[in-house]
């Protein structure tokens, strides 16, 4: 039709009018650092693997997870999950049950037999001393770089503290074995019963290009307690180790445990399972000051473990123990009160922490020892070039998660060292704090609590106490993730732009701003649920 002049117009002709010039601020897509990732000592990219998990793509989720941690099934069980403490969702209802999803992925991987593949061989050979979490983590990462890795393990089995320190009911051995096997399957050699007593010599004779030390801390701290000959006083690690070896140490009916760390709880709960009728944890400070994690204290209480707070053990006979009451001074330190009482008991287990056995390092020059641990630089390298260290033997919190993080970090630095280079950490993004989110778009979805093994069965057996999530729950949990600071392609920006200035690039490709038309109103940023858009001022 020949249209009447001016009054009748062809559709869409305003595309010629580039209203982008009206803008004083421009939106840009950003990736902010989710608090979970920020809080993870192993440096896991949690939000990333939850993203895959929530779409049911468990393999990619697992792949993404093991980028940073080769032991998800273990970690999902024993990690004290600082990620969940940091989780923004806690401010809506409860944090995402991250460790449970991690455990689900780990178990799924074991069930389906998913494996790791090593990198192209570099010809370099690295010695790892100790097959605990940090040793295994380092070995795995080094193998992915293509380096040949040999682990020297002093003990008869691999796993270090994960095996000797953590009871079965928290970490079933088949899970531990499966995840270690997956690492050896990629070509990592573990030489058991091989104690390194002179590192200098080993390095020289066996021509390793680099070394990672991760021997852990196995020497039990002692406390001087005057005791009669008949008094049974054992140390916690010994008890746990013998239980793991299938022996049943004689603890008697009434067991006292001395200490307030996780080991104290582990051994107390183990004693219960070995048949003790009364298990009493004696600790010199109160519950708030106790280093053990609250979840475990709670589980212990549920199992009928008793606690004696603000008490120190002064004297032991074969059936009695003298305890002094303490009080906390204003600094929170326990001070003696001079009041004493006597408790009946058949045995006392000391769980006062562990020291590192450093004798094998004596002849390594330039390697510094400070307060019983090995000093390392930010690259995890000791004073001796090419010798790195991590885990419980360096200054840090002593958890499996921290150890795995050390292993990864050390491996990256060892790899750089082997290339005559220094590993450069890529800068961290700005933190995706809660105030960056627009949470209206998330529906309320409270946490699904993992089913607990009923107390009755716990007391008598070493069955795993905390059960895993089934697939549905795991999916549900994964989908509770707010995807803080990272676009999850919800289409909000694409939808709410009054000027259609957002281009949708298709699944997995996210979006792009069309600055020809964007007037810079900022609605996309305001309505982005996860805070993945930032407004930046235009220069005038």
């Amino acid at each position: 039709m020949e249209k009447p002049f001016a009054i009748t117009l062809d559709v869409g002709s305003s595309l010629a009018n580039h209203t982008g010039s009206w803008r004083t601020e421009r939106p840009v897509y950003v990736d902010r650092l989710p608090p979970c990732n920020h809080a993870c000592p192993a440096g896991e990219n949690i939000q990333a693997w939850l993203y895959y998990a929530e779409s049911g793509d468990y393999f990619r989720a697992w792949k993404s997870l093991v980028e940073n941690n080769p032991l998800p099934a273990i970690m999902g069980r024993v990690c004290y999950h600082p990620c969940e403490t940091g989780c923004n969702r806690a401010q809506l209802d409860q944090p995402v049950n991250i460790h449970a999803v991690e455990r689900f992925l780990g178990d799924e991987a074991i069930r389906r037999g998913w494996q790791f593949s090593p990198g192209l061989p570099t010809g370099k050979h690295v010695l790892v001393v100790g097959s605990g979490p940090s040793g295994l983590s380092a070995a795995y990462q080094l193998a992915r770089f293509g380096h040949r890795v040999t682990i020297y393990e002093a003990g008869p089995t691999a796993g270090g503290m994960m095996r000797f320190g953590i009871p079965k009911y928290r970490l079933p051995r088949e899970v531990l074995d499966a995840e270690i096997a997956r690492i050896t399957n990629m070509g990592v050699t573990i030489r058991l019963n091989t104690r390194v007593d002179d590192l200098a010599r080993v390095m020289q004779e066996e021509k390793f290009d680099a070394v990672f030390l991760a021997v852990g801390a196995h020497v039990a701290k002692r406390a001087y307690i005057p005791a009669g000959d008949a008094a049974r006083i054992l140390d916690a690690l010994a008890v746990l180790r013998s239980v793991d070896a299938g022996e049943a140490p004689l603890l008697g009916r009434r067991v006292l445990v001395y200490g307030g760390g996780n080991t104290a709880l582990d051994v107390a709960r183990t004693a219960k399972r070995l048949g003790a009728t009364e298990t009493l944890i004696v600790y010199r400070r109160n519950r708030e000051k106790m280093p053990a994690h609250d979840s475990e204290v709670q589980e212990a209480l549920d199992e009928g473990i008793q606690f004696k707070w603000l008490s120190t053990i002064k004297k032991a006979t074969d059936t009695t123990f003298t305890v002094e009451k303490m009080r906390l001074d204003e600094k929170g330190f326990p001070q003696p009160t001079g009041e004493f009482e006597t408790i009946e008991g058949d045995s006392l287990v000391l769980a006062l922490g562990q020291d590192v056995d450093l004798t094998f390092l004596e002849r390594v020059d330039k390697l510094e020892i400070v307060d019983g641990v090995v000093k390392v630089n930010p690259q995890m390298m000791t004073g001796h070039p090419g010798v790195f260290a991590g885990g419980d033997m360096v200054p840090a919190e002593r958890t499996v998660t921290v150890a795995v993080g050390h292993g990864k970090k050390a491996a990256r630095n060892i790899d750089a060292f082997l290339r005559g280079d220094v590993y450069a950490e890529n800068g961290k993004h700005e933190l995706a704090a809660f105030d960056k989110l627009n949470t209206w778009y998330y529906s309320d979805a409270p946490l699904t609590v993992q089913p607990l093994l009923d107390a009755a069965r716990r007391e008598s057996t070493f069955d795993e106490v905390v059960k895993g999530l089934d697939e549905n729950n795991a999916l549900f949990e994964a989908r509770r993730c707010l995807s803080c600071g990272n676009c999850f392609e919800c289409d909000n920006c694409y939808g709410v732009c009054p000027d259609n200035a957002v281009l949708k690039l298709g699944p997995g490709k996210r979006f792009q701003f069309n600055y020809d038309y964007c007037k810079g109103c900022g609605m996309c940023a305001a309505e982005c649920p996860c805070g993945a858009i930032q407004m930046v001022a235009e220069t005038i």
Binding site: W22, R23, T539, I540
Partner: protein, 193 residues
């Protein structure tokens, strides 16, 4: 003296023209201010005009041959027709933190006399003094300094009469700051350097 002000809806282009005319009136001269009427929106390009003379002004045509251009928004610089009809000895005042080279308009203004083309970071100043990105009042200070057609006092008085109270005072402060900036001949802003 004919002035054409270019800006965007919401930047106070029209009030700028009005304030110029008030300033001229306060100096006992004849002035006329009017907008280019339209149903334009916040952010859309708009124009306003001001005539200053010593006799009564009769013409009602839009300013076709300005003696001065005030560009409130540098994003308008590259729309063709912006410099249309500008007198070869005319003035151009641009609201920008950048210089002419960065703005890429050197060639467009190369024939104008030295010192007749200046940039002043009016939006920046406005945000600092007024707390809002409204460059109009601020620019008038710069205009007074650049052209000398109006005294700063009259511009200041005009701003006060248009915006009594706090906003007025903060605008005055911004205008005076702009005046200073332009008055001390920052060579960076010179045309022929």
């Amino acid at each position: 003296m004919q002035i054409r002000i270019h800006g965007r809806g919401g930047q106070g282009v029209v009030s700028a023209a009005e304030m110029l005319s008030i300033a001229a009136f306060l100096e006992g001269r004849f002035a006329q201010a009017f907008p280019s009427f339209g149903s334009e929106r916040m952010g859309a390009p708009v124009m306003a005009f001001c005539r200053i003379d010593d006799q009564p002004i009769r013409s009602r045509e839009p300013v076709m041959h300005p003696d001065a251009l005030i560009i409130q928004d540098p994003t308008l610089l590259h729309q063709n027709s912006l410099f249309d009809g500008l007198d070869e000895s005319g003035y151009v005042l641009i609201n920008s933190t950048r210089d002419l080279k960065e703005l890429g308009i050197e060639s467009a203004v190369k024939d104008l006399p030295p010192g007749h083309v200046r940039t002043v970071p009016a939006t920046e100043l406005a945000i600092r003094y007024v707390g809002r990105p409204l460059p109009n009042g601020t620019l008038l200070g710069g205009f007074a300094a650049m052209t000398g057609v109006l005294k700063l006092e009259s511009v200041v008085a005009a701003i006060r009469s248009k915006f009594p109270g706090k906003i007025g005072e903060s605008n005055v402060a911004a205008a005076e700051a702009a005046y200073e900036l332009v008055a001390k001949r920052d060579t960076r802003e010179e045309v022929h350097v």
